[in-house]
Amino acid sequence: MTGAILFAIAIAALLLAVAVWVVVARTAFTATVGFIVYGLLLALVWVALSAVDVALTEAAIGSGVTGMLLLGAAAQLRATEANVESTSLPLKLSAGILCVLVSGGLAAVMLDPPAVAPTLAPEATAKLSATGLGNPVAGVLFAYRALDTLLEKVVVVLALIGVWSLTPDRAWGGVPGLRLYARPSGTLTLLAQVLPPVGIMLGIYMFWTGADNPGGAFQGGALLAAMWLLVMVARLQPVPPTSLGRLRLLVTIGPFIFLTIGFAGFALAGSFLAYPIDYAKPLIVVAETGLTLSIGVTLALLVAGPAERSA
């Protein structure tokens, strides 16, 4: 048993324990805190699986921004903890048995991998030079499977529309109901003054370096979103109304640029979302810049939620 395997067993056991805690915890607040721990442990798992890009994304988006969203919800829903109709024991037992069967089926498949694992890694690295990138994950995201990334951006924008659609009619276009917390001399205010410059620089660095090293637009954008949220929650910046034109422009600029580059590919390189040979990396970096900005703004707006009072 090498050290790596021992480490893996320890992390996996801890992860399962935390996951069980999330499912059985008494209050939603405890469960949400458990979930944030789960996300951070999951990031460690990704490092153990040699997927650093994914680890960064999981820590930033999967645990960080999602955790903030769920914590806020748990706080607002605290009053409903009391009236809970819990599921009866026979139903829980049946559910447990069926879940064990499903997990068992998956485990049986996982324990029996093909002798030679099929992989696209050789093909991905061989064609990477044509894109000018050094990070194969970035190559997959922005070159080989760029359509998926474009559609994912549309999904995020659509989710924002969906969240905004839940605004009461009288408050449409108004200010989101993000819960603000700071007192002028509190710790939160201090953190909100000290962290954002560092965070923004880190975010920009993470996106910039993503072309050749682990990182990328999503991770950098999530960090930017977190900094903006910190500044808003600490009342250092006002929460903007959702009808603000500049805000909507920022949300759409990233996908717009990406789509434009995609259409330009028709003329310049013969195919949608194709890149001409010498200009591939600059074009990808331009697309990523726009995307980082848009993702940062959109993720923060998704956490801020629908408008609650008119502007």
């Binding site: 069967l101 498949v109 099929p118 696209l120 070159a143 009808s243 001409p276």
Partner: protein, 594 residues
Amino acid sequence: MTSAAALSQTATAGGYLLVLSIALPALGILLALALGGRHVERVAGVFLPAGLAIAAAIVAETWRGGTPLFYAVGGWMPPLGIALRADGLSVVMMTISALVICAVGVFARADFFTPSRSVEARAPFVFWILLLAIYGALNIVFVAGDLFTLYVALELVSFAAVPLVCLDGRPETLQAALRYLLFALVGSVLYLVGAVLLYGAYGTLDLVLLSQQVHAERVTFVAAALMTVGLLAKTALFPLHLWLPPAHAGAPAAGSAVLSALVVKASFFIIVRLWFGVMPGIPGFAAAQLLAALGAGAIVFGSILALRQERLKLLIAYSTLAQIGYLFLMFALAFNAGTARLDSGGALTGGMLQAMSHATAKAAMFMSAGLIYAALGHDRVTGLAGIGRALPLTIVAFALSGVALMGVPPSGAYLAKELLLQAAAGTGQWWWGVVIQMGGVLTSSYVLLVLCHALMSPDAPVTLHARVPRIQEAAALALAVCSLLLALFPWERYLPVPRGTPPTPFDLDALLKTIWPILAGGVLAILMGRWGDRPATMSFGSAVAAVIAPARCAALAFGGLIERLDGVLRQWTAAGLSLLALVVIFAAAMLAGR
């Protein structure tokens, strides 16, 4: 990058149309959001017809050729890149969805517009962007040739459909939307697990490459079971239908039309792709019979519950449940016992024709129901008396779409029924033939119930709350006529032609075959439908009522039983247990088929 010569093999002529069908709606969404205000309606007014034009161009491109369109995005060939493919199935579904969405767009212009005194209003802003999103997402579902792109497309469809359900902000619709969202998310996650397993085994997510490499082993069965059941949850096939009735009934009329007609067809289409395209030899006899059995259950359940509904919109929603069940009969009927594979033949064509005709007819029905509600201020089935005279065009639209669903020639449903019956006879599966005929009777019953109520003369003259715009009635009527004439469209160019002679829609035999289910349906409507206190005031009503009272008692008792069962099945825990149980049962059925 690839040279120009190599690039020519990454796309067929006209393949760029597939990209446009996806990229233009995406551009529309972004433009609408960026411009905001009144411009949203204008952007939709430009991009929806543009989508229709692209669909028409794709039809023209594939008309003579017969070779499917192909486009490797970015010039990267699968398995590394993503391929877009449009074969006959894709083309017909894209055409129908373009037609339905444009008709819904025309219909919705009267309901969703920014009032003159405000800069921007919530409902129109949200509605038009969601409609564009659904349209784009549907196109992706129909042309994407990659399992993960299909996953993203499914999420896009769900995220666009859920806010439509709760667009009016009432608590019931909010609850319905939340249940829909959570159940749909479980469905897509199960689908994703299956895709992960397939990539782990075969190293590709491309549909065509997978079809060449897939073989019968444990991982394939588990993946197939997970993906199928996940997609069934999104299609709301019995018993996983808990979210559909309140969601489709609670949405605004234009929203319900799109939800019932097209959104549920997206996940159904992916099941078709999986079972007929990627792994036709995997499911086996038992799993196919199980799927069709669930479909039969949906037909019986949905139709009887539809008969028992008090509200018209709920009746139509339950009718959707029943019609979805119809779509799944084809999986059993396409099974070739000799080769243990699913054949792309007459049964597949029948199922696709059924999907197309349901899409057009159901959209027209929901539009008519919306107009009736707007005019009367309510949509109680028993309170519809006199509406036939007050809103003749609307009732004609409803009647035509109902008649099309009942399977009267030359509607698409008639042709679908004939093809499915042919397949049933051909493969010796007579029991599905019985189910199909029963389905016809059941469909007729609730359509006739509504039409009878609508054509009865009222006690007091009907007062209309609001004028119904002619353009809305025209849109509903256009779709209804479309569904009625669907069999006359040249479907042979795009859908597999069945062995033997395809049924002709225009002879006496065909007409006679359609009469008796309608009559039987009428009897069923009398026995089980809600009549309010109407019969007592009709001249012969009390005599007839006395005669059939015992039969009606028994029928109502049976109906009550079904309603109670439905109430149990639509509890979240019960539905969740059914979901997991189905995964296990499907996996077992596929494994046993070896």
